[in-house]
Symmetry: C2
Subunit: 657 residues, 2 copies
């Protein structure tokens, strides 16, 4: 058997994943719930191996502080983080049918279908419906637009539609509503009117405790639980900086209409790192170890120029040229690359795409996504963002708990700055319950603002300002406040660290690897293979006794015992199926090695080792074969190196006996 | 330093767990949410090691099929399983203050406080309040009853109260309400009236999807997700029986008023096994491997006799005598024992308690809890139940999906039985929408019922019966039904497997091990130690350079590299603290080994190895020391065996230098 591959077919892959129970819709016997999937034994083992590799690659290697924080999260925390207000998609209701559409997806789909209809009308395609059905099948989405009408559009309309589609991810709800009005977008099945888009928050809400009054959510990310433990972690780390925390756990997102299988689900496994770094020094101690790693970058200026052609360079060059903001961010980008390659991602289908200014959170200094190419297009699988001091600052402001690092300065420094003194005992009588708000407003002014205020006070004898949350203007004279420039000597530097956050969507990575590692043998396309790297393959070895003859049983038991002792995951297949069928099943499960036990094994204790991808076979003693498996699986050796002392083995009819 | 222990103090333990960030209240800077805790780095690593051990001990060793199913669960599934109707506690509201009490806890606490007041009135205790305060401190619960009044009770009232308290776990909501009326139990702080107990469902509810119409819950256990995948798992197992599935994941319980720290929380990690077995053959292939394991049993008859004195015998005897229902249940009980001992449970504080008839679910054939003794009393940490065919049957009935095993019979069998034939075309016109209900009622009659019906039909010319859900009686004559005895030959046996379910509360086990493994050195009670077994200790080795002198740095780096390569989790403590202080910190973290690097290390590359519990030290080469660590931690060797070739090492002042 050769290692040649037939053309990729998503349908074939999905059949294999279903047949071998890598995953399946949750609650399928109850009709299922969209966006929820269960992992069966091979999917679960694959996931566990990837998590284990992640833990070793990041946490152990870098001595990160792993935490396990709760999914249930009270309202206040997510209000502060911004998720209550901003973590939402836009949805439109059809009040008559009760249907709900995700606004951006609807606009996208309707305009795309009109463009296809236009092409048919222009005679550029034969049958847009057949074409779209094919497309829909490929994309496996439930299309809202059932029929495409061959209607020619004006040239300028085509251009407009194309411009809208190119920017579809960036529209606000209001803008989407305007587009729907302008282009007369209704419910595609009934043509009935839709309500204007409203924000639908994507967090699952629940009530904590019996009173029903403590609102809570299921976390949308693991990050917040890490931020809230910042001070405890810094203590745990003996106050040393920089350091990183990490968490692996489930997060939740109440998608409006989940699609694309494992790529967009409502409950998913994440692995996130929060690396805390001095904002004035974002160098990384181990950057030199990765500086020569060559990556494919899609920086924002290339995207702005309308290109999707990645730039290939080393991470060292990328940081030196300023394309990647800093060494720490660059270090993690390279480490993400190394991790993804290790677990089976195809390096030709991996790129790092920089966020455009309009995609990036306002506080972020820089952000790169590791995108993996699949039959659904390029998919964001890992985010790597410099979140600046945003998170610690907002939680600290809200809770009044200091989330800072205090560093003894080698040399004391003198600091000259403007300071504001409040005559606090006058604030209470004047502002009553608003007094804390006014005080907070005044003490949080920047140097620049203080200078302006000082001038205003000097020139007008008073300052006039507005405070958010208090009606009307506020006037204060110098019996309330005093602004002065002072000079202090400081021995301690206190700062809020910045956060570099690599954030992994494990399910998306897993699905992408399924696609990257799936192929069919060219000479028999029904013979499918999942070529997982041995280190992450769900099972490492299949034991195949030639028959159920009792002479073979003790050998199977003996090899099982040895494998179990060495903690090498294996399965025995002593079913009545032919050897060929058993190996075919095994190839679909991605098991890298097969061991055949035959009647020669009874005589001389030799066994045959088969390699999944090449179907090559070698013969040797139990000890030597297991040694080879162990070296290739866990010690980074290759098939060639580890089997060169073993005897090549040719069966009469290879896999098909 | 000796290994002698001072008396256990929960306060000391809690201080250590907090100081070393084993765990902490979640969202603490926001004031916390009761019943939610985060694990910090050592707690998280300890948990990961226990999960890893569990996976190897059960899943790998027994070739179980691990699955990862979703936490979000639709209403219908949990309605069928019985959780919507029965998974609740009883709560009472004070409508005036808005306070909510868990009814059984309130009755328990009020009656206990009255009994204490009685004792004081009788002069049996000096100050019941002081006593109770002490008690409350010990139990660390927020007591509702703030003050105990020294009021003497009638002797028969005392007896009544004691009887109620002994049965407190078994009352229904109505009964609790009657007790509250009878004993005049009000809000303890205001003496205001309370509403009668109402059922409070302990599941967290949420809405799935944007319409808000798909009700869902966070799963209260991982079991249901496993049951629903039964057929896929049986297929995956090539239809072979028996087999087991397993799941490790978070579950949720919206406790009315969580208390007892990690023992009663709202979000917790579970590990559950569902072992599917032939109801007619519950023997276990590997039972002989465990039959001589000696366990402490507290069977139901001993409990009924009012004793808590466990019976010590082998699991072989327990099964043979019928005390434990069957071999498979017994096998898992023994395997649970072995697991718990492996991860650090004190075998003197472990017992297996059988459920009493009133505790056990009606469908369960037998149920034993592994209980661990802590300062909170005996705590249920692992349940091991024979759930019969209940779960698969209810889901199958609800969904009409067969959840059965079909086995080819070695010899065909002849089955003679009564069968009922329905004249279906007459049912529709007569019963209209009720027809399916009537048909289902008739076709699900037992053999015994069919014989009765046949007689009735013969004697009266008709049968009269009632069907739940249909008003009035139903009469049918023999134009509708026909009952006959027939004989068939069957080649296939179809059956619903029974489920043996070992279910582990990982958080409760973890907390119990903290208590079992915590002690203070007798000569310095502030020196606390957590004596975790090396295999599950969060970190295995602490590297302690004598000073920050640059000569020592390369050696620390070199040892770090070797340990990392061998994947032995370690920490470096190069803080300025004294060696003694650093080891003390380390003992609190439960790290079994310390390596000291001193100036002799520079000369001859020798290092010192320190054992946590005994504080014994030996000296040897880097290779030999790491070899010893590896043997003791991962290969089951002892300190004595693995260090006998190394040189005993005496420091001038041992740990206190």
């Amino acid at each position: 058997m050769s290692g040649q591959a037939a053309e990729f077919s998503r349908e074939n892959l999905e059949n294999v994943l279903k047949r071998r129970f890598f995953f399946a819709p949750s609650f399928e016997i109850y009709g299922g719930v969209s966006g929820l999937y269960d992992y069966g034994p091979p999917g679960c083992a694959f996931q566990a191996n990837i998590v284990d590799t992640w833990r070793k690659h990041f946490i152990l290697e870098e001595d990160m502080l792993e935490v396990d924080t709760t999914m249930l999260t009270p309202y206040e925390v997510l209000k502060t983080s911004g998720h209550v207000d901003k973590f939402s998609d836009w949805m439109c209701r059809d009040l008559k049918t009760g249907e709900i559409f995700r606004a951006d997806h609807l606009v996208e789909e309707v305009l795309e279908s009109r463009l296809k209809g236009d092409k048919e009308a222009r005679g550029l395609v034969k049958d847009a419906n057949a074409d779209a059905a094919d497309d829909a099948e490929k994309k496996k989405r439930k299309k809202k637009v059932k029929e495409i009408k061959a209607i020619k559009l004006d040239d300028e309309v085509v251009t407009e539609y194309e411009t809208v589609l190119a920017k579809i991810d960036g529209y606000s709800g209001e803008e989407l509503g305007e587009l729907m009005k302008k282009y007369n977008i209704n419910n595609p099945s009934t043509d009935g009117p839709l309500e204007p888009p409203i924000a639908f928050n994507l967090m699952f809400e629940t009530a904590i405790g019996p009173s029903g009054q403590l609102r809570g959510f299921l976390r949308p990310e693991t990050a917040q639980g890490q931020f809230l433990n910042f001070s405890k972690l810094l203590d745990f780390n003996n106050l040393k900086m920089p350091f990183a925390s990490a968490a692996i756990g489930k997060s939740f997102r109440n998608e409006i209409s989940p699609r694309s299988g494992l790529l967009r689900v409502r409950e998913f496994l994440m692995a996130e790192i929060e690396h805390y770094v001095d904002p004035e020094n974002k160098s990384h101690e181990r950057f030199h170890e990765v500086k020569d790693v060559v990556l494919k970058f899609l920086p924002k200026d290339v995207q702005q120029a309308g290109s999707t052609e990645p730039i290939q360079k080393t991470i060292g060059e990328a940081v030196a040229s300023g394309m990647v903001d800093n060494e720490t961010l660059g270090y993690f980008i390279a480490r993400i690359y190394q991790f993804l390659i290790k677990i089976g991602v195809d390096e030709n289908r991996l790129r790092f795409r920089q966020h455009m200014a309009n995609e990036m959170a306002h506080y972020a200094a820089d952000c790169w996504d590791a995108e993996l190419h699949t039959s659904y297009g390029w998919i964001e699988c890992v985010g790597c963002a410099d979140r600046s001091a945003y998170d610690l600052t907002v939680h600290s402001n809200r809770t009044k708990e200091k989330l800072v690092v205090r560093q003894k300065l080698d040399e004391p420094i003198t600091v000259t700055q403007y300071e504001i003194d409040l005559e606090k005992k006058k604030f209470g009588p004047k502002f009553r319950k608003d007094a804390p708000l006014v005080e907070k407003f005044l003490t949080s002014q920047s140097q620049e603002d203080l200078i302006k205020m000082k001038d205003e006070l000097k020139n007008n004898g008073k300052v006039v300002f507005k405070v958010s949350g208090i009606a009307g203007e506020i006037e204060l004279d110098n019996t309330f406040i005093n602004i002065e420039q002072r000079t202090h000597t400081e021995h301690i530097r206190e700062f809020t660290p910045n956060v570099i956050e690599p954030s992994f969507g494990i399910g998306r990575i897993i699905y992408s690897i399924f696609e990257h590692r799936f192929w069919s043998r060219a000479e028999a396309t029904e013979r499918c293979v999942l070529s997982f790297p041995p280190a992450v393959a769900p099972t490492k070895v299949l034991l195949v006794p030639l028959s159920n003859h009792e002479d073979l049983t003790p050998i199977v038991k003996n090899i099982s015992k040895v494998l179990r002792k060495q903690q090498i995951p294996f399965k025995v297949d002593d079913s009545g199926a032919s050897i060929g069928k058993r190996y075919a099943r095994n190839d679909e499960l991605g098991t890298p090695f097969g061991i055949t036990i035959d009647f020669d094994s009874v005589k001389d204790h030799s066994i045959t080792l088969r390699e999944r991808d090449s179907t090559k076979q070698v013969r040797g003693s139990i000890e030597d074969i297991i040694k080879a498996i162990k070296e290739i699986t866990y010690e980074g050796s290759t098939w060639e190196e580890s089997t060169k002392a073993l005897t090549p083995f040719e069966t009469q009819a290879a896999d098909d006996e």
